[in-house]
């Protein structure tokens, strides 16, 4: 392949012709303004508020004109890698393309300008859309009811745990407080369990990262409130014994929670509800294409089995026989309130746009292509980077860089950093912990074959570099706006707000 069709095999210096702007706090000049307000000649503040209630001095903010503001943030933007620039092979993060129509429709007047205290009479269209989304997510996951309120995946986990706790408490089962969690789980899982007032109990996984049924049988008791599993698991592998897991937990009186982080592998192929789960959360910023936004806002709706619907937080959207929609208060003590209002409504609407655009067949095809892409990459990378659990790759795989470490003295971190020089993002590294020098790749379905070939070619070229010139990797990145940062220094002497051009000595 020529470098013309795959620019990433070349170092991308010319693309990173960008430097950090000065701090916004050192810009502008007194008297400049980007925004003025409709005039109203009233009395000054002093005449309207007693002095002892007022701040002693005005907040010291820089004064910029609108063009200065635009330039500052535009310059900042050029320092970012992003999905419209290049691939993010980030395992478990599902960094797919974010369709632009999603952004267009949520900005519409009649959606973006709705105040959360407005009642059903003013928001019939919105409720219709949210109801459609709830029903679509139920079909996608095989469940009876859905709550769109969780504002993130972790927020969904928290709500799911509150729901399971409320279920046991409603039965007088106050002592059921243990949630079993495989040791391969993401760290957020046990944290969510704890803050919901439950106790995580770790169960060891098998060597291949799948659930150990014997360990599970030994762990269940009359204290078992449930289990929390990611399926496909954190290695990207399907839990083949899931029905047996479901039987063991249900017989013990517990409920099954699925972390839906990896739903992109299985849409239209299998559903959590059909596998025996009782609750699932979806990361709509992964599976359903809403933007990551440099860290949020995302969305983590949960879907639940029929008998758990009564524990979902209010208000609940209800469709009446005449086709209108109402908001129903939840009866009884409200023990699952997790947000001021209805969660990240604007993000949920983007997910609905994505579902409508794709339809049922389209979503199935999304998972098929995601799995095809991952297998295609795996087939070509296996030689230079083996995959320890090389059975049944779905939408992602976890390779190991241990051979690179032993033979060339370069670590997975270094490979990731060198990818940055080539205009690509690094994969997820050092997770899950059960793979030495883990290098977790998820291409997603939105990468065309050319882009996958380019990633392979780049990895092969880095493999060559590792043999001939390992410093290129261990000192990478070279052409990015900044080099490797002193994280230890940052944490030892935290500089968390602007006090001057440099107080970093």
């Amino acid at each position: 392949m020529s470098n013309e069709s795959c620019p990433a095999t070349e170092v991308q210096a010319q693309r990173w012709n960008a430097t950090l702007p000065a701090s916004i706090f050192d810009k502008g000049a007194p008297g400049r303004r980007g925004l003025t307000f409709p005039r109203w000649d009233g009395q000054p503040v002093e005449a309207q508020l007693p002095k002892e209630l007022c701040r002693a001095e005005g907040a010291d903010l820089p004064s910029l004109s609108e063009p200065e503001v635009m330039r500052h943030f535009t310059q900042l933007s050029t320092l970012n890698h992003h999905i419209e620039r290049g691939m993010y092979p980030l395992g478990s993060c599902t960094m797919k393309y974010n369709p632009r129509v999603n952004e267009q429709v949520v900005a519409l007047s009649g959606l973006a300008d709705l105040h959360p205290e407005q009642g059903p009479e003013d928001i019939q269209g919105l409720l219709e859309a949210l109801d459609l989304l709830e029903r679509s997510l139920c079909e996608l996951t095989g469940f009876a009811a859905c709550s769109l309120i969780p504002a993130a995946g972790a927020h969904g986990e928290y709500l799911g745990m509150l729901v399971i706790r409320a279920y046991h408490q409603s039965r007088g089962d106050e002592d059921r407080t243990e949630i079993l969690i495989p040791d391969s789980a993401h760290g957020t899982n046990p944290a969510s369990v704890v803050i919901a007032g439950l106790k995580p109990r770790t169960i060891k996984s098998r060597k291949d990262g799948r659930i150990d049924l014997d360990a599970l049988r030994a762990a269940v008791s009359d204290k078992t409130a449930g289990i929390m599993i990611t399926n496909p698991n954190t290695l990207g592998l399907f839990e083949n014994d899931i029905q047996e897991v479901s039987r063991i937990i249900h017989e013990a009186g517990g409920r099954l929670y699925m972390d839906g982080a990896n739903m992109n592998a299985i849409m239209g192929k299998t559903r959590p509800g059909d596998m025996g789960f009782d609750v699932v959360h979806l990361n709509i910023h992964k599976t359903l294409s809403t933007p990551h936004g440099g860290g949020g806002p995302g969305g983590g709706p949960i879907c639940v089995a029929e008998d758990l619907e009564q524990f979902l937080p209010g208000p609940r959207i209800a469709r009446q026989d005449d086709g209108t929609y109402t908001l129903e208060k939840v009866p009884g003590p409200d023990s699952t309130s997790i947000h001021s209002y209805f969660g990240n409504v604007g993000i949920c609407l983007r997910a609905l746009a994505y579902i409508l655009r794709n339809g049922g067949n389209g979503l199935t095809r999304v998972s098929e292509c995601a799995v095809l892409n991952a297998n295609y990459l795996l087939a070509q990378l296996r030689d230079i980077m083996p995959v320890p659990f090389d059975t049944g790759c779905l939408h992602e795989f976890v390779a190991s860089g241990s051979r690179w470490k032993e033979e060339f003295g370069v670590r997975t971190l270094d490979i990731g950093k060198r990818l940055l020089d080539h205009g690509l993002h690094a994969p997820t590294i050092y997770f899950p912990l059960i793979v030495d020098e883990a290098f977790m790749v998820e291409p997603t379905e939105t990468e065309p074959k050319e882009s996958l070939d380019c990633f392979v070619a780049t990895m092969k070229s880095i493999y060559q570099e590792a043999q001939t010139n390992p410093e290129l990797l261990t000192e990478a990145p070279h052409v990015t706006p900044v080099g490797r940062l002193d994280e230890a220094g940052a944490a030892r002497n935290p500089d968390l707000r602007y006090l001057g051009p440099c107080n970093c000595g």
Binding site: E487, A488, A491, R492
Partner: protein, 125 residues
């Protein structure tokens, strides 16, 4: 490799006796495993702990370890220098990077701790 002038715990702490006061720190091995240490939280002097209690935390860039006290007693001193400069624990874990001094309430607890040879076996090599 491992100095034989002190005792060691399973949690990779060292304990050196000075009269009835035990000086406690983390071993060279533990400091290496943690990587760049960025923050050390220590108890207040005067606080009392039982063997195995968590008396503080040691944070590196990407890990956090609890300081489990290998002996019971009262905290009589803490190393303010490592609070100000956590990197001391990396640079000199066995000397300047000590963490707390404990007045022992039960010297018999020392018998259960490892000697240098046993600790060397634990960390391999």
């Amino acid at each position: 490799m491992v100095p034989d002038d002190r005792k060691y715990s399973q949690e990779h702490e060292w304990i050196q006796l000075d009269g009835d006061v035990a000086i406690v720190g983390v071993t060279d091995y533990a400091a290496n495993e943690l990587g760049d240490i960025v923050f050390v939280e220590l108890p207040e002097t005067g606080e009392e702990f039982s063997q195995g209690d968590t008396a503080g935390t040691i944070e590196s860039v990407k890990a956090v370890a609890d300081l489990f006290l290998p002996v019971s007693g009262e905290v009589v001193a803490i190393n303010e220098a490592v609070v100000d400069s956590p990197e001391l624990v990396n640079n000199s874990p066995m000397d300047d990077g000590w963490l707390v001094k404990i007045r022992l309430s039960d010297t018999a607890e020392l018998d259960a701790l490892m000697d240098a040879a046993a600790y060397q076996d634990l960390i391999g090599g």
